[in-house]
């Protein structure tokens, strides 16, 4: 597949750009933050996205989706990155849908139409510590009656507060650190109840901490095969990592554009500061780095359709590179803006905060680089 967008994909990008620029620009995020909105995103906006087919972009047509594929999902989330649009798109429309597509007929029928209609939000509960480390899952699920009994804790669940269900990675055999012996369960909001608490991170979005104390789920809560959930979990995480990479690409592009506009306007020493070679060379370097991110992200998105067996590596590459360059783009943006870049009134700080969160979520640079090194035999 050529590393360019086709006409249909270009149209989708234009549509996403137009819609998000109008309905969910950075000022919308600012308002959600200032209002201390409990969710940190707008249900009304989410339903509008559903009406355009976005929430069902990876959902099969028989469940009300448009099954458009990862490149389309990536384009939407890249535009969300440009606008810092807050929504449960990556958690629900990308990751949960990827997991549930591998679920039973009943599970697909129960959950996928709701996601496509914008009525259902489902989050992935995987992390237990301060660093992403899925193989280290310790939360236990033990056979109990006709179902399972869950004990343990999950933290930093993306969009997990008030979610209609959580997809929980649990250990059903083996020890923390083993990839074997991990299973995925879908746990409904009613079962979670008050065991879940909300926390906001610096990006003003909601994350949940959930304590599982003898929490019972039915046997049909298991997604996929018992003890063999790690491969599916990895696929779900790869989809999420690629989504975050696309989002960081959009955020990097936008903060770079804002910075270029600013240094062409701002005058000091009687000239535009953008005329100084000290800033020009750093800008040109950053431009080059962002070009590399574009290539890595597009390839990672395409791999899910054209070479799924390599998609995990593609996702790790895209997440690593987009995270590294995202942090550089945010740092350079604030530095080149000077004092105004440090003020809350100016938008650039929102980009720095979201990129900081996104590069950490689902594995930071070191995590992805370690995976790639192992794949490459060192």
């Amino acid at each position: 597949m050529a590393l360019v967008l086709n006409e249909e994909q270009e149209m989708l990008r234009e549509a996403a750009k137009g819609f998000l620029g109008e309905k969910a620009p950075v000022s919308a995020l600012r308002k959600l933050r200032d209002d201390d909105d409990p969710l940190g995103w707008s249900r009304a906006l989410w339903e509008e996205m559903a009406a355009m087919g976005w929430t069902g972009i990876l959902v099969p047509e028989e469940y009300g989706g448009i099954d458009y594929g990862m490149v389309g999902a990536g384009l939407i989330v890249q535009e969300m990155g440009r606008n810092l649009t807050a929504s449960p798109f990556i958690s629900t429309a990308m990751m949960a849908v990827t997991a549930l597509r591998e679920g039973s007929d009943e599970q697909r029928q129960k959950w996928l139409p709701g996601i496509a209609q914008g009525k259902t939000v489902i989050a992935l509960a995987v992390d237990e510590g301060v660093k992403h480390d899925p193989a280290n899952t310790a939360l236990r699920a033990e056979a109990h009656g006709n179902g399972y009994r869950l004990n343990g804790e999950k933290s930093y669940i993306i969009d997990g507060f008030d979610a209609d269900a959580l997809i929980v990675a649990a250990r059903t055999s083996g020890e923390p650190g083993d990839e074997a012996g991990i299973s995925l369960f879908i746990v409904e909001k009613e079962a979670v109840g008050t065991a879940s608490s909300r926390t906001k991170l610096l990006d003003s979005r909601n994350y949940a901490h959930t304590e599982f104390k003898d929490m019972d789920v039915a046997g049909d809560a298991l997604i996929g095969t018992l003890d063999e959930g790690f491969a599916l979990l990895e696929r779900v995480l790869s989809v999420g990592r690629t989504g975050l990479a696309a989002e960081m690409l959009g955020a990097s592009e936008q903060s770079f554009d804002m910075t270029m506009d600013y240094i062409k306007e701002r005058k000091q020493f009687g000239t535009h500061v953008g005329a100084f070679q000290g800033l020009q060379h750093r800008s040109a370097h950053l431009y080059s780095e962002i070009e590399l991110v574009k290539s890595a992200v597009l390839k990672a998105l395409q791999m899910f359709d054209e070479a799924p067996e390599m998609a995990g590596a593609g996702a790790a590459l895209a997440k690593a590179k987009a995270g590294e360059v995202g942090v550089l783009a945010a740092n350079e943006a604030v530095q080149m803006h000077g004092g105004i870049g440090m003020t809350d009134e100016y938008d650039i700080g929102f980009y720095m905060k979201r990129i900081r969160a996104a590069q950490e979520l689902l594995g930071d640079y070191a995590f992805q680089a370690n995976r790639l090194a192992i794949l490459r035999g060192f």
Binding site: A2, L3, V4, M260, I263, K264, T271, H272, G274, A275, F276, Q277, L279, Q280, H281, S283, A284, H285, Y287, S288, E291, L292, V293, K294, S295, A296, L298, K299, L317, A320, K321, E324, A366, Q368, A369, N370, L372, A373, I374, R376, G377, F378
Partner: protein, 397 residues
């Protein structure tokens, strides 16, 4: 069967029948590279046969039109040829500045007579070309070049000095930038001209580099007589051709430097593993080096994909333009990093300068050679200036 599938089958069969076995082994040293030309000494009969056969098919320049000695292949067909050659590990039949640089310029700016005369000699490897661009006083500021070219009525007369002329001592002809108008602003008095290196008044002197090798020369012109029909394009408009060629050269340097082998072949990390060993988990024991290697691989892979994307975009009608400066900048800086890491991975062994084991210091000499990557063809700083002005639109001082 699609036309392309048929082409692939035919190509595979032809290569199988025509590529000598010896030409399917990796090159042992620089002498195994075939540059062609009047005075070239083939390292083996197989090397000569391979050049002749590929030259006859025009496959030394697959995408050039057949009437000028090229293969007349479409982009897709050329890609298939490249892939099929890679399958049998066929060596490149011909290294040639004529193919990489002069040819594209002649195809765009040359007269019909010039194309008919020079291009077939290039594809058959009969004439070896060198490039006369830089001068002692015109490096990054190339347009300030001073080599004088005067109209003497029925011919031109050229006097001056070039430097960093690649393989000038081994080349048959030179394509050269000369000043034809000393009064005009510097970019508007330059012309692009071709002449025989055997002409009276031409002399060359190799420059020994820090690697101990001498791929470059100083080249002197003392009242060299050049026929008027050797001027390419319009008088005093040579800078346009120079810029066009530099774009080609930059893409090429970026390409060769780049992520080479990041996706295929042995990874940088495996080179280190072979030299230094692993811990119990199979990981490179030196964790700091391992992190640096992983970073270089991530950048190498991303860069390779960027090269691919630029080619696909060019095919889809979006020219590369000034973005070739980005490729040149990033590819060469990356290549320098890769060689630093290879040196680190081999430790003291990487310092060996002579003897069989190190193949006379192949690695350290190559490492030293990479230091020129970010200087030749426009320094990294010049590329960053071009990106700033032409892509980002940042104001001039």
């Amino acid at each position: 069967m699609s036309d392309l599938a048929t082409f692939r089958d035919e190509t595979r069969a032809w290569l199988e029948a025509n590529c000598p076995a010896e030409m399917r082994k990796p090159m042992r040293n620089e002498d195994d590279a075939c540059w062609g030309g009047r005075n070239f000494k083939f390292s083996s009969p197989a090397q000569k046969t391979w050049l002749q056969r590929m030259g006859e098919k025009g496959w030394t320049a697959p995408e050039w039109p057949k009437e000028y000695g090229g293969g007349g292949l479409s982009r897709e067909q050329a890609k298939i040829l490249k892939e099929e050659m890679a399958v049998i590990k066929a060596r490149s039949p011909l290294m040639s500045f004529g193919i990489w640089m002069l040819g594209p310029a002649l195809l765009k700016y040359g007269s019909e007579e010039q194309k008919k005369r020079y291009l077939p000699q290039i594809t058959r490897g009969e004439i070896r070309w060198c490039q006369g661009y830089s001068e002692p006083g015109a490096g990054s500021d190339l347009a300030s070049l001073q080599t004088r070219c005067e109209d003497k009525g029925n011919h031109y007369e050229i006097t001056g000095q070039k430097v960093w002329t690649s393989y000038a001592d081994k080349s048959d002809w030179i394509f050269c930038l000369v000043r034809t108008d000393r009064e005009a602003p510097k970019h508007q008095g330059i012309s692009f001209i071709l002449f025989d290196m055997q002409s009276e008044g031409v002399s060359t002197k190799p420059i020994t580099l820090i690697s101990g090798r001498s791929p470059f020369c100083e080249t002197f012109f003392d009242q060299v007589k050049v026929p008027k029909e050797n001027l390419v394009g319009t008088l005093n408009k040579g800078w346009d051709i120079a810029k066009y060629l530099l774009t080609h050269e930059r893409a090429m340097i970026g390409d060769s430097g780049g992520g080479g082998g990041a996706l295929g072949g042995r990874s940088l990390g495996q080179i280190a593993v072979n030299a230094l060993g692993t811990d119990a988990q199979g990981r490179l024991a030196d964790s700091a080096l391992r992190a640096d290697l992983a970073r270089a691989e991530i950048d190498g892979w991303s860069f390779l994909l960027t090269m691919e994307r630029m080619k696909d975009e060019a095919k889809a009608g979006q020219g590369i333009g000034a973005r070739s400066s980005m490729l040149k900048y990033y590819g060469t800086e990356l290549n320098k990093r890769r060689y630093e890491l290879m040196m680190a991975s081999k430790g003291h062994g990487a310092l060996e300068w002579e003897g069989e084991a190190s193949r006379d210091g192949e690695l350290p000499r190559a490492w030293l050679r990479t230091k020129a990557n970010s200087i030749e063809g426009g320094t990294s700083e010049v590329q960053l200036n071009i990106i700033s002005k032409r892509i980002l639109g940042l104001p001039a001082t």
